[in-house]
Symmetry: C2
Subunit: 200 residues, 2 copies
Amino acid sequence: METQTLTARRRAATEREIAEAAAALFAEHSVAQVTAEQIAARAGISVRTFYRYFPRKEDAIAPILTAGAARWQAAFAEAGDGPLGARIPEVIAAQLGSQNPADLDTMRALLSGVESDAELRDVWLRVNDDSERRLREILRDRGSAALDARMIAAVSTEAIRIALEQWASDPGGARPDTIAVDVFACLSAGVPGLGVGDRS
Amino acid sequence: METQTLTARRRAATEREIAEAAAALFAEHSVAQVTAEQIAARAGISVRTFYRYFPRKEDAIAPILTAGAARWQAAFAEAGDGPLGARIPEVIAAQLGSQNPADLDTMRALLSGVESDAELRDVWLRVNDDSERRLREILRDRGSAALDARMIAAVSTEAIRIALEQWASDPGGARPDTIAVDVFACLSAGVPGLGVGDRS
DNA sequence: TGCCTATCTGGCACGTTGTGCCACTCAGTC
DNA sequence: GACTGAGTGGCACAACGTGCCAGATAGGCA
């Protein structure tokens, strides 16, 4: 939460600019059709510098997709010592609800391309997997058994992913945090139609 | 189950050869270190032909990773009309249990590299996502509501993934189908430590 | 002020990736 | 023997991503 050194802030600003340039281009054209040179030009940097900020062309949009995840990680880091698993739903729903509206718009545009653009999907899968790994690690540090942490993290991350994709696919629908709460409720209580269930 | 045309069988054989060549190389070196030319040479074909079988270099191992998924899809296609969700666990566990032992060894070698090799992880994530999409579609065709199908497919696929990764990380542990049954039981009944739960 | 170090940046060259295009081969058919 | 169709390989090419070097910028110290 501290104001960092000037160089660090400059770097963060540049990263942000690149991410927005890439997002604007990827929202209109497929990832394959956009060249790294175009992204760099729009962000006002050279191609070589671009690859110093992001290892792959498509990764330039990761900061936007992970904006929410970065915040709930911080929220967990500040939380007390008690059991963490039970509070995951509320924390994540709260963080999704306080998302920057401009970022939400960008995110919706990107997510609606995930179905059709193979490389965009790759980034989305990577982002979610990264998020799951971090959550898994936090849970293990708090004393969960390895397999328990694995399952909790997997279901939680999957719930967020489903909520976001559902929200992105339905322009007139509910807010992402509202959907997330519902999906969380279903998944944590046991999926209807699985195991001894009967529906479907 | 029919013996297909000769050309089709030749093609399947070549695909198989490429997949095994790629798997052997990826098991020892990272994906980035292995060139498409090396894979093609080992499989006895040209680079150009390689890219007619697989769109990306890393995708060459997909057939091995999806061998199990391909079989349970067939099992579902043959199943009767009744509710499908409740039978998912047993079908998948059975298919995992009847996996070809040689493929299982190869799979374990590949999966143990997923942690360290970024591009190997990408393939693994793609394979799982493809599997989930197919299962989702099957469930929707059988009459599940869209969101229900989404959640059932997500949890089921995630359970398989967890089971396989857990199995790969523990050389002396239980068979993958045994682990899968356990994970399935946990997830379908509701994750301990989530929602109103208390553990962890 | 001048020097020195550290970091960021851009340009260049290079190996690799993946694709379009064309020529060649090899079945089977008439 | 000519024709068709599908698979294959070679070649050229744009794009990707990286190592290397040179120039620019900012800060610390005498």
